[in-house]
Symmetry: C2
Subunit: 258 residues, 2 copies
């Protein structure tokens, strides 16, 4: 038997695993199926390495070959993703409340968390009559440019705000707030009112109301929002129901009542 | 520069990557946080190897350390999971229809696909008033023991049925069909009627109606179902709406009308 110490070569092990994760990371893309040459381009790894690692990932069930040279992730990765507790526990607690919110508004409902400096959408509920938005579960947008993102910024760690400003505030639409002082004022207003308004800041033609979801230490863990056509936007009717739902989910996540 | 051919050692590479995937696979569990010792137990790998690989997986963002000796998957894995096209495309197409089904029934709605010999639940919609079921997104149950599973069996490849029978048909409740001939008859009836009924076959106290979702080649790709309390089960009112929704999703997935 070969013992573990005979086998181990930490540097080499690390490089192989990180390459494998880098190749898997290429599938975090709007394209469902990608080619080996796209992976070569994105990772900068030699084609022979990419092919060799893809073969192993297929053997391990992480990747599937769709046709010659085209690959997609396997259901194994979906199962792993659905096990991620930061998303799963929150989703399980939030879903009935999101259903209620959808039923009372019949508008697009989003649940989002912070992923670094981005808003990450982890749930979306919409009927066929709701406003058309380009959001999809798994999509990421900069924190400053979305309603839920501004909420996550307003209640999040100060250094996240500083990092975001240092990275720059790109405009997604002509209405996106790109001035650091304006974002600072927007955040102060959100902390005062308890909710965020966004009018065509992330996409032209839509507006949203977002409210914070807190955890057991009163830390911010997520944001719930409703997206409506900008033309019929009435925040004074939407804000109370979005806030009520956010409070309900917060209670479900163990946030103390005050 | 070290060239790729100087670096490569296919056997070694394969073993490291497959160990990494095996460790990630341990997180496909109902427990959100697991310990290194549980991973050692489940994989049979030496503790030093498990710790070394965990450290690399943390560096790559796949795993997070929760506390000393406890780990969970990172949001990166959630993003990858949400990119898996087999689940994502189907989910995006199906969700508005599932919402409609929930609104018209106010019962638990499931979307499931076949994962080997199991029913894998990839979407669940339920309000706070619906029947309490233990299902969760990501859960797997044997094909023969659930309504959606019987649908996936009825329209799936013949060898899946043979493999399932060869593996054995365990009972989840006293009503689970465990006799191969009875399952064969049940499948014939499903193909005749276009839907599956299940009365307390997967859990005591609940019943369901499930219907097939087809793709562009008329191949079965998923099953949609509604779960209700067994005491008030009325398949004759539920079956038409479940079938109509399954046909709508099938059309959205490109299935030919006939």
């Amino acid at each position: 038997m070969v013992t573990d110490s005979e086998r181990s070569d930490p540097t080499r092990e690390s490089s192989v695993l990180l390459r494998g994760l880098a190749i898997l990371g290429c599938f975090d893309s709007p394209m469902p199926v990608i080619t080996a040459s796209a992976i070569v381009k994105q990772t900068g790894l030699p084609p022979a390495t990419v092919h060799r690692i893809l073969t192993i990932l297929i053997e391990g069930g992480a990747v599937e070959r769709v046709s010659r040279g085209s690959y997609r992730l396997g259901l194994k990765m979906w199962r792993l993703g659905s096990s991620v507790p930061q998303a799963r526990v929150l989703r399980d607690v939030a879903l009935p409340f999101l259903e209620d919110l959808y039923e009372t508004t019949h508008e697009v409902v989003h649940l989002a968390v912070r992923d670094g400096l981005e808003t990450l959408y982890i749930e979306k509920i919409s009927g066929r009559g709701a406003v058309s938005v380009t959001s999809r579960v798994g999509r990421r947008l900069p924190l400053h440019a979305t309603g839920p993102g501004k909420v996550l910024l307003a209640y999040g760690p100060r250094d996240v705000f500083d990092q975001l400003v240092a990275r720059g505030l790109p405009a997604l639409t002509p209405q996106t707030i790109t001035d650091p002082d304006a974002i600072r004022r927007s955040i102060a207003e959100i902390r005062r009112s308890g909710y965020a308004l966004s009018r065509e800041e992330s996409s032209v033609g839509t507006a949203s109301v977002a409210a914070p979801i807190f955890g057991s230490l009163r830390e911010i863990i997520a944001s719930v929002s409703v997206v409506v056509p900008a033309s019929t936007f009435n925040p004074w009717t939407l804000a109370p129901v979005v806030r009520a739902v956010a409070l309900g989910i917060s209670r479900g996540m163990g946030a103390p009542s005050r």
